[in-house]
């Protein structure tokens, strides 16, 4: 298993470039889906202490929609979308004609599958781009969704990845819609034993 704390600057830069290409593809998919212009923040590839992950989105007590998918294939990992409450309502109002939902806590079957589909499309677009660059097929699992505290969702996703080390490698990016503040955070966490393959496939092993 690769010790992630030994990654070089060049390797991290290459991983960030992967994030750039993956999220670029996801952003255009979202733009097409919503028929709006979507801007993308500059992605980062970071080695983070698991305690600090929630700080990336404003702390552990934020109400967020989480969509979680597993990345499957030779290179495996976890894919997590965190969507602030306000943005998730906006997405639902845009995508479902006549939707007047006031809180994600009251979501019904229709809203649930709509949000999962957003996750599916974004993860699919992201991983498609990665499959092409790495020439390694990567597929996403069915999405699983929950609306809850950001800390609780992150905690659940990373807990068994940090048994030995306190650090996780995370490729992170966010989308911002041109005028309004539609915000989506994307986190990709490669499994530690997939990291070497990932680095090799992009020529920086």
């Amino acid at each position: 298993m690769e010790d992630i704390t030994n990654l070089t600057r060049t390797q991290l830069d290459a991983l960030r470039e992967i994030g750039n290409i993956g999220s670029g593809n996801a952003a255009s998919a979202l733009a097409q889906f919503l028929n709006r212009k979507i801007d993308m923040a500059v992605p980062s590839a970071k080695i983070l202490d698991f305690k600090d992950i929630a700080d990336l989105i404003g702390g552990p007590a934020q109400s967020v929609m989480g969509i979680f998918l597993k990345v499957m294939g030779e290179i495996s990992g976890r894919f997590l979308l965190l969507i602030p409450e306000k943005t998730s309502l906006k997405l639902l109002h845009t995508l479902i004609p006549g939707c007047e939902l006031d809180s994600p806590l009251n979501m019904g079957e229709m809203e649930n599958s709509c949000m999962k589909e957003v996750g599916n499309i974004l993860a699919g677009a992201f991983l498609n781009a990665l499959s092409v660059i790495t020439q390694t097929p990567m597929l996403n699992s069915l999405p699983s969704m929950a609306f809850d505290l950001s800390g609780s969702l992150i905690n659940y996703v990373v807990a068994d990845m940090v048994a030995v080390s306190d650090k996780v490698l995370m490729i992170e990016t966010s989308f911002i819609e041109e005028e309004e503040d539609l915000k989506i955070h994307i986190f990709l966490l490669p499994d530690p034993d997939s990291l070497q393959k990932l680095l090799k496939s992009i020529g920086v092993a």
């Binding site: 699983s144 800390g151 609780s152 080390s165």
Partner: protein, 161 residues
Amino acid sequence: MTDFIPVGMGEFKIARHPSCLVVYGIGSCVILSLYDEKNKIGGFSHVMLPDSTGIDQEKVNPSKFADTAVPMLYEKMAEEGAFKSKLVAKIVGGAEMFPPTEDFNSNIGKDNVEAVKKALEALKIPIIAEDTGGNRGRSLEFDLESGVLRLSVLGEETREL
């Protein structure tokens, strides 16, 4: 002024009144609280995983794992002046946050709860309250004057344990 002391994942903290221990965003983790009513001293351990077996003991952070975190909090509480025989436990958390799918099915919350209970039983510490399992995130405040835990869940009223 109450001093709010946050206890992050894999950490433990011990404090006395008028301080207040807090944890925001508990998922599959289990928060173990130990309290000595007479000395008004309490501790939180934020346990992430059930078992440290098989992990290099030199690298392991004992407060991450139930099997090591529970005895550690117990001993540290005694060092800080709590009476071991007076300590009572409350446990909170251990949720499965995302509904299982075909490709992902975790019991990590349940495993954490069971492991904490087992470790408490080995030390003969009584569990006087519990709010565990389910699929909702939780936040907690520990009032060290009364020993009461204030539990909040998104969209629900605050409860006392």
